[in-house]
Structures are given as structure tokens and as C-alpha cells.
Symmetry: C2
Subunit: 159 residues, 2 copies
């Protein structure tokens, strides 16, 4: 395929929130993000993998790091209406993205991104994709290493 | 916020694959998508929520529906190298996306999308976001209902 990776982007002012075992039925996602929207919380990434038992699943989302205390307050209120086991938060994360055009399939570009991070011992905490982007969450301390390794892997180093 | 939703998009020729409880350590994602890339499988969405126990997590991805038999063969090979509990597949899904500009926060647009689907009894199986898009996987039979309801919810019905 003629996929061309044009750049690597990153943000490092976000925090990750994971809601463990929310009920997997209509209305639950709305009950989580409605109050966050009402509170003016800046939500960037939302990632939900499919449930396997048809009963519950996890939702991970990212917000502005400075909004974490406020988001935790909102989550206390959400917990009265939406059943979930617990909310885990992590402020020491970075979002790193590979931006490409002509990615008819993400498999090849994803494999190179994931292999590059693996070679450098960087664990991939979450993954989200769009037509032109593959984004991952990693531990913030690995940001520079990830960026350098990805630039090299995709031939983006300035000559 | 001045978010403007400019359109609703959908695809209905995909199938969903969920790998349950893959080990959450470096190299695992690469070991899954490398072989899929080698087999020329068309991978669209990749969604991985963060692990809560630090040991394992689930990965959901979508592929062309016609490629499901081939992907299952590849997964058999992957299972010899990558530990996961099982691979669940579902060919009766649709991907529906809300496309917006100026979405500084996804919370408001997401809430309206999720509430609209919930009001119509449509369960959200997976969620993925990018700067300009919120995508969900739903049961394929609800595609037209979802599209009509979302057009109305965002004021996109032709007058
Ligand atoms: C988990 C959550 O996405 C739920 N399935 C809903 O539709 O709201
Ligand atoms: C689960 C998978 O993403 C793993 N954390 C990896 O880094 O490859």
C-alpha cells in the first residue's frame, strides 16, 4: 500500500481516566459524558473496546491534566447513577500519534509504530485510530524516546 | 464551545474482532498487527482501552468483512506467540461517525451522539475518537435508524 507517514504528533498535558466495568447497555456512555460536558471538562480521546461477556466493558478517556481534580468530583456524581467498579486515573501519560495519508489499511503503519515502541521497551497503554492517525498513550517519561524512535522508524529524521 | 458537526459517516462492510486478555506488556500489539499486515488484511479501527490490573487488556479492531476467514487463520498463528484468552468476532456491525470541526472538547458532541443512540435503544459496542471524529460500532441492523436520528440530533436534516 502507498501509505505515507507525514509526521509524528504528541500531547503531554493530558491525564488518563479508566472506568472499569461499566454496564454495557444503552445510555451508559451518555450518562458518563453528559456530566463531563456539563462541567466543561475538556475531553480528548475516548476509547472503548468491545465487551466480551455482553455485560460490562471498560472506557478510557483523556482530559486536560489540570482538570483531573474536577473530573474526579464529576465521577463521584456519575457513580451514583452509573454502575462501575472503579475509576483509575494516571496523570503521567503522553499521547503520541503517527499521522499518515493514503492509509488504506492501518495494519502496516500500526505494526511499525508498535514494533518501534516495543523495541524501546515502551508499553502501549491505549490505542485509538482514525483515517489519518494512529494514537497511543504511553508513560510520559518515554515521550522524547518515543518521538525520536518513531521519526527514525518512518524516515522522518532531517537529513 | 463552537463545535460544529458537519456530517455523519458510516461504513457497513466491516467485521469486528476482539482479542480478550492479551498480555499488557511491550511487543504484544506489534505481534498482533505484524502478521495481519503481512497477510495484507485491511485493518481500519484499532481500539484498546487501558488495563486496570497492569497484566492484561482487550484489543478490538475492525477489518473488511470479506477478510474475516483469512484474519481468523492469521489469529490462529498469532495465538501460538501471543497469549490471549480468545478472539470473538462479529460481522454484523456498522461503524458510524460524527464529523465535526472546532471540537476543542469532545464531551459535548460525544454526549449528544451517545444520548441519541441511547434514546433509540442502540447499544454502543466500541468507541474511538480523533480530532475531527467520534466513531462508534453498533449492531448493523440499526444503521439507518442511527443515521436518521443523528442527522436530526445535529440539525443536519435537509430542510
Ligand atoms: C458502555 C457503553 O458504551 C454502553 N454500551 C452504551 O451504549 O452507552
Ligand atoms: C496490549 C499491548 O498494546 C501492549 N501493551 C503493547 O505494548 O504492545
Amino acid at each position: 500500500e502507498q501509505a505515507v507517514v507525514s509526521g509524528i504528533a504528541f500531547t503531554r498535558n493530558e491525564a488518563k481516566v479508566t472506568l472499569q466495568r461499566v454496564a454495557d447497555r444503552p445510555g451508559v456512555a451518555a450518562a458518563v459524558f453528559g456530566p463531563l460536558a456539563d462541567a466543561g471538562i475538556n475531553v480528548d480521546m475516548i476509547v472503548q473496546s468491545a465487551s466480551l461477556d455482553g455485560k460490562s466493558t471498560d472506557i478510557t478517556f483523556t482530559i486536560g491534566r489540570a482538570e483531573l481534580p474536577r473530573a474526579l468530583e464529576v465521577l463521584k456524581a456519575i457513580k451514583r447513577k452509573v454502575k462501575f467498579d472503579r475509576a483509575a486515573t494516571d496523570a503521567e501519560i503522553s499521547k503520541v500519534s503517527v499521522i499518515g495519508t493514503g492509509m488504506r489499511s492501518h495494519a502496516g503503519v500500526a505494526r511499525r509504530m508498535f514494533e518501534t515502541l516495543a523495541k524501546n521497551g515502551i508499553n502501549i497503554q491505549a490505542i485509538s485510530t482514525s483515517e489519518i492517525k494512529i494514537s497511543v498513550l504511553i508513560e510520559e517519561k518515554f515521550t522524547e524516546l518515543a518521538l525520536r524512535a518513531l521519526h527514525t522508524a518512518y524516515g522522518l529524521d532531517s537529513a
